[in-house]
């Protein structure tokens, strides 16, 4: 962290306004070189930005300064809000990196510095990652809840309650001879209560469908019209459609959004017996996806549909006499398209966290579920020692979510998502 990084912090140009951010020990010096005296902290002032190399005017922009350690990254920060044309942004960034100690930031580097300087904790960083990746309003609001520390606050609240329960369990053990805490008949009901509160979040929809899109597998026998259906829903020609069976050999993923809900349509190989090695692999993948995806559009015979929840039976190629059961859809006439979309949206909504509802990712969910089962076990035990042990296990699970314990493991998971350089 000896150098100063710069990056475009706003969206893809061209836009009306762009925000270019610098963070590091030379941020102020670089700003001075471009704008003259740096304004007082947290005061946005209009300044002319000139290229120090040749004095050329780059732009007129708002400049804001944040002093370490009370800034987003914990370092000195200067933000430039300039016009959002590509050329302007490039000129500004080039001028900045011409200054000593300044360079282009790597992906995620600002957040990494915020983490390294203790400005955010790991659950907030995870939420922030999701926030940056959010493409729909629903995704944004959900990520906001986590990036804003809502999850951490919930966890802290549970941790405090766990500590109080533990204290009550422990006192009966370590102070056996004294009367303190003997006969705490309320302990187990209170443990059950906390477990119940936690289970609400455990059972609620996870973040992956929202963040990555609800996976909708489109499966059935060869030539049933799967690829055409995908293209119709996606309103583009992503999947290759021919009359020859076995055209789709692998999974083709097509992300779409309907009514703000993110889906990933997954076109699959037609299910049949095959001698072709490559096709066989595709068929296995297709079967796997048909089982795992959150929703399944089944284009084959109704009685051959996989036995699982979330199946929508489609009667495709009705104009060519396809399967009679299910929602009739014709890619040629467009019939049934709107209805299918409505059906997808309705089912999709149930699978997603509601706006502002906290949603956990797999790692967080699994740990919280561990904690919650420890509490369920504790509520049914008689031996106070075992109760105390299960409470400890629950506390440990909560701590691992926020990174108090097992720091390495948590950072591993985070780095895997954040594509941070070393």
């Amino acid at each position: 962290m000896n150098d100063t990084i710069v990056a475009l912090s706003s969206g893809r140009p061209p836009a009306a306004i762009a925000v270019v951010r610098t963070s590091g020990p030379d941020a102020f010096a670089a700003a001075e070189a471009l704008v003259g005296p740096v304004p007082a902290a947290r005061k946005a002032v209009l300044r002319r930005l000139t290229d120090p190399r040749d004095g050329a005017l780059i732009d007129e922009a708002l400049v804001v300064r944040f002093d370490a350690p009370n800034s987003a990254t914990g370092e000195d920060i200067v933000e430039y809000q300039c016009h959002g044309g590509r050329a302007t942004i490039d000129a500004l960034i080039n001028a900045l990196i011409s200054q000593a100690g300044v360079r282009q930031a790597e992906a995620g580097e600002f957040t990494r510095r915020a983490l390294a300087n203790g400005r955010i904790d790991l659950t907030e960083a995870e939420g922030l990652a999701d926030l940056l990746a959010a493409e729909t309003e629903l995704q944004r609001r959900s990520a906001m809840a986590r990036a804003g520390g809502e999850l951490r606050r919930r966890l802290d609240g549970w941790r405090d309650r766990l500590l109080e329960l533990s204290a009550r369990a422990e006192v009966a053990i370590d102070y056996a001879d004294e009367e303190e805490g003997s006969g705490d008949a309320q302990l187990r009901p209170d443990i059950r209560l906390l477990g119940g509160d936690m289970s609400q979040l455990v059972d609620s929809p996870r973040i992956e469908p929202l963040r990555d899109g609800i996976r909708v597998a489109v499966a059935g026998p060869p030539n049933a019209g799967k690829s055409s259906l995908v293209n119709m829903l996606a309103q583009s020609e992503k999947a290759i459609v021919t009359h020859i069976p076995g055209t789709t050999r692998d999974l083709i993923e097509v992300p779409i959004a309907i009514d703000g809900i993110p889906f990933v349509l997954v076109d699959t190989a037609g299910l049949r017996e095959s001698d072709d090695v490559v096709e066989t692999i595709g068929i296995e993948r297709a079967r796997g996806e048909a089982e795992r995806a959150e929703l399944l559009l089944w284009l084959g015979e109704a009685r051959q549909a996989p036995d699982r929840p979330g199946v929508i039976q489609i009667s495709a190629k009705t104009d060519l006499g396809g399967s009679a059961e299910g929602l009739p859809v014709s890619v040629v006439t467009g019939q049934g398209g709107a209805q299918l979309k409505r059906e997808l949206v309705e089912r999709g909504r149930q699978l997603l966290p509601t706006a502002d509802e906290l949603a956990l990712d797999r790692r967080q969910h699994d740990l919280l579920a561990e904690g919650q089962s420890a509490l369920s076990r504790a509520a049914d035990l008689d031996d106070p020692v075992l109760i105390a042990e299960e409470l400890r296990v629950a506390r440990l699970a909560i701590d691992r979510i926020s990174g108090r314990a097992g720091v390495e493991d948590l950072l591993d998971a985070l780095f895997a998502r954040f594509c941070l350089g070393k």
Binding site: M1, L115, D174, D177, D383, V385, E389, R392
Partner: protein, 600 residues
């Protein structure tokens, strides 16, 4: 010239001296009074929940406390007897005089040389200690010195409006040495501990109290059999009441604690009766245990009313209690305020980090309790021998012993209030049982040469018996052999999961200590498996070492208080850093980044 010099003849000092001697060191024990060894300053009992675990561990390492306790025991009680073996705490009440005698015998048998005198200064050679200077002008040379001065380092006693210098009733304070220790920057702050009045048992109306007899089962603290068990006495239970509380409240203004005279913080765990009434004023009474002090003594120790109230108030308090209406106080209660040394400056061997050949053990490090002192004495003694003889160090891990938990807590967190052992302090409580100390520590004790031959033999016998019992539990047997119908054949340990079969299995295995221990292992097995994997998960963080001179002020994002705490604690790795009190997840990740960057 001695190999090891121990200063202080209390519980820490005696264990330290004997431990060093067992490893072959020439040991001298320096004390004000040689007839004062093993003096119990306060409660005449040894053991309890957590404390009892420590005593058994000290015994597994060849120490003397458990054996002395058995020889002097006049009342025994296994606490938490109905709650499962992980938290069963053996506790005995001892005849004070017999206990002192037993300790003196054991110290003599160990070949320790007793020297009566006062140390007024440590002698240094460079940055290492090499002996002491005595008040009479003579010097004692030693390769390693263990400081086990307890509450004597600049101690003041308080009762009501009185105050006087001294570490214990009838004992002098050690102020000259305290001055030097302060100059060396070793002394830290003050702590306070209290003691109740001693009562004349002949003036107690026992009929109005509730008797509590000694346990029928004559279990022992030590692995070794008890050659001459004492007759057992009952103790009695009574309570304070509203009138007692009124007396106390009326006298609060004259209590040094509330008049602000005592600087140190009192123990949170057994506060004075003034604290109890002040903080839990709405309770209608607090329980008191009346404990006889000896077979030939009329003194009774009322456990639960530690106090520093003036004598007349104490009398009013005592007389308000059921059964004590005509009771006479033989020795009024008092509080001691004493200086202690910050244990964060110590290595896990209890050796000082900067001053060579100097170790600290006992209440001096901010602990409270004889058992805590003895365990530290053991650690310091074993390591003083290591330094002076050039043999292996003794390191205790919090995953395998309460001794390890205590040493880790003290050296990492320090002591802002007197540290007392609780089983709650350990994450591995189901593994650290009072009944399996020998299995956990026996092999290490043998490797270190910490056991005399007899004890080594006993430990080996126990380990063998345990191995056999464990093998027996692995055997598959048919349900029929346990009196059940049906053809199932399962390992005995599986059958042990059923509550209704445990007793039968226990008898089948022979009901001896090793067999019972193996059975408990089987019963707790699923939990123990989980503990093992937790320990393994910790290993990753342990691998991220923090270099000894690491400067925490260089880690951005840490509050200055956090930085100070980490600097003082000097954690060895990320796992330890995570345990330092108050470290937030954000701070931990900032530290992690800093370490990784530095290593790169």
């Amino acid at each position: 010239m001695f190999d090891v010099l121990v200063i202080g003849g209390g519980h820490a000092g005696c264990e330290a001296a004997c431990a060093a001697a067992r490893r072959g060191a020439r040991v001298a024990l320096l004390t004000f009074r040689t007839d004062d060894l093993g003096q119990m300053s306060c409660n005449p009992s040894i053991g309890g929940v957590g404390k009892g675990h420590l005593v058994r561990e000290v015994d597994a390492m060849g120490g003397i406390m458990a054996r002395a306790a058995d020889r002097a025991a006049i009342h025994r009680r296994m606490l938490n007897a109905s709650k499962g073996s992980a938290v069963r705490g053996p506790r005995v009440q001892a005849d004070r005089a017999l206990y002192r005698r037993a300790v003196a015998e054991l110290v003599r048998e160990a070949g320790v040389r007793l020297i009566e005198g006062e140390a007024i200064a440590l002698r240094m050679h460079g940055s290492a200690v090499n002996g002491v200077e005595l008040a009479d002008g003579s010097t004692l040379d030693a390769r390693a010195v263990v400081l086990a001065t307890g509450t004597f380092l600049d101690a003041t006693m308080f009762r009501g409006e009185e105050r006087w210098s001294g570490g214990r009733q009838g004992g002098e304070a050690s102020n000259a040495l305290a001055g030097q220790i302060r100059e060396l920057g070793l002394a830290q702050a003050k702590l306070k501990t209290g003691t109740p009045p001693r009562l004349d048992g002949k003036t107690i109306d026992w009929v109005r109290t509730q008797a509590q007899p000694s346990d029928r089962d004559a279990w022992t603290m030590a692995l070794a059999a008890n050659p001459k068990p004492q007759p057992q006495l009952s103790c009695a239970i009574t309570r304070t009441n509203e009138r007692s509380h009124d007396v106390i409240r009326a006298g609060l203004g004259r209590s040094p604690l509330f008049a602000g005279a005592i600087e140190g913080r009192g123990p949170r765990y057994c506060p004075s009766i003034e604290d109890k009434v002040h903080r839990f004023g709405d309770r209608d009474g607090h329980q008191i245990f009346l404990e006889p002090e000896g077979l030939d003594s009329r003194l009774v120790y009322p456990n639960g009313i530690s106090t520093s109230l003036p004598t007349d108030v104490q009398l009013g308090l005592v007389r308000s209690i059921s059964g004590l209406e005509r009771c006479e106080i033989v020795q009024p209660g008092y509080a001691v305020e004493y200086e202690y040394a910050d244990p964060r400056r110590l290595e896990p061997t209890l050796q000082h980090r900067e001053i060579g050949c100097l170790l600290f053990a006992g209440q001096l490090n901010g602990t409270t309790g004889y058992e805590e002192a003895a365990a530290q004495g053991l650690v310091a003694g074993l390591n003083a021998a290591a330094i002076s003889l050039g043999v292996a160090e003794a390191r205790f891990d919090r995953g395998t012993s309460y001794i390890g938990v205590m040493v880790d807590d003290l050296t990492l967190q320090g002591a802002s209030e007197p540290y007392r052992m609780l089983t709650a302090r350990s994450e591995y409580r189901l593994y650290l049982r009072a009944d399996n100390a020998v299995s956990r520590l026996g092999p290490m004790a043998i490797d270190l040469g910490a056991l005399d031959d007899d004890q080594a033999g006993r430990v080996r016998d126990h380990l063998d018996a345990k191995t056999k019992a464990t093998a027996a539990l692995d055997e598959r047997i048919a349900g029929a052999e346990l009196g059940l119908d049906g053809p199932s054949r399962k390992p005995l340990s599986d059958w042990a999961r059923r509550d209704d079969l445990i007793e039968r299995i226990r008898l089948r295995l022979g009901n001896g200590p090793a067999a019972n221990e193996a059975l408990d292992d089987a019963i707790y097995a699923p939990y123990l498996t989980r503990l093992a994997s937790e320990l393994a998960a910790r290993t990753r963080d342990r691998k991220l070492a923090i270099p000894p001179q690491f400067d925490f002020t260089q880690v951005p994002g840490l509050s200055s208080e956090m930085q100070e705490r980490l600097n003082a604690a000097s954690p060895a790795d990320l796992d330890q850093a995570g345990r330092v009190a108050g470290v937030t997840p954000a701070a931990l990740s900032a530290l992690h980044f800093a370490l990784v960057r530095q290593a790169a």
